[in-house]
Symmetry: C2
Subunit: 199 residues, 2 copies
Amino acid sequence: MAFTRPVDKFGERRSQLAESALQTLSELGYARTSLREIAQNSEFSHGVLHYYFSDKVDLIIEGVRQYKAVCVTRYDEIVVRSGTARSLRNGFAAALATTLVDDGTMHRLWYDLRSQALFEPTLRADVLEIDANLERMIWRIVTRYAELAGRPLRVSSPVAYALFDGLFQQALLHHLAGDETAAGRLKRQARQVMDEQLL
Amino acid sequence: MAFTRPVDKFGERRSQLAESALQTLSELGYARTSLREIAQNSEFSHGVLHYYFSDKVDLIIEGVRQYKAVCVTRYDEIVVRSGTARSLRNGFAAALATTLVDDGTMHRLWYDLRSQALFEPTLRADVLEIDANLERMIWRIVTRYAELAGRPLRVSSPVAYALFDGLFQQALLHHLAGDETAAGRLKRQARQVMDEQLL
DNA sequence: GCGCGGGCTGGACATCTGTCAAGACTTTCT
DNA sequence: AGAAAGTCTTGACAGATGTCCAGCCCGCGC
């Protein structure tokens, strides 16, 4: 088993199906996503899902794990690229707005899952872990920002995360409701917050 | 019709059933709440729900409307009671922590519904309205706080709302996950934020 | 006393869901 | 080539769900 192949075919298909699940979940939300719908968004039939996953929750958790990997490194390149506090500030604010527009549907899934975790203990461990990673991601940006600015931080890590998370969530709701000014507002708010609240 | 009675029997029963719906929703969440379950949490059978409501969504929206009324005035008495910035700050922070512990299950329903609105356009109008009311509620507290402190505000209304909303959501997740320190942390964070970020 | 109508019940319905198993097809190994 | 193991499809199942409806109950006016 360990010597069969350098590539793990079983794991690859699992990954592929989890990706289909993720796609479907981001379109329909947790409540309205069924296994048959997921299968239709893949090139397989619905029965195969129980060959690769023991459970519906197993499948969804695997999808969420994949999502986390993409999500958490998203802004790290901005941190290394930026040489001044000002460019970091503007780069991060612009990236937030871009994420809102381009990946809004994926992020609504994240908020959906986090809400589901408030009811389903099964999801809590994974959601808490992803949440902690997101907070760390924000903290990396914020500390580097203070470093570049040469000024001390006025916020703790949870407060910084709450601030950006709250702003993004608010913007997402308005954006998906058809408010085309939401992205621009988010960008301005992020810049303002970095100027006035963080330092 | 207008002269039949001072009390509207039809509307009263609607209200009563909406209350049962709200109760059930806060226990199970939007995804797992069925009409039969709602009926079991009331003293009626499931068939009656279609006598008073045209639809499942109709019922849920009515429940949410009732929720809003309770929610929005929650902290207003603190505003009028407090004579100093310090007492307003401490009162609000303590009230947040109390709400977390006492009404955590009701508030997780709110976060659930707000997430559902990201997928279901049917819910958006009501969710946006409630959200705006919550923001106004925060704004009333914050402006009064600055007034009592005799200092200018450093935050806009959306930023203030995002901040407290983000902190509360974070605390709720940890609290429901069994973290008993979450309420105390929320209280401290709220006080710190009012000292350092708001003014 | 008796019909009447609003209020409510309980069951029927079509549909959808997660789960599973029997078998067909494909790849791999001997 | 033929067997064995792995992969995938199809269909079936039991249960749950939203919706609807035929009819029961009960208080009211005639």
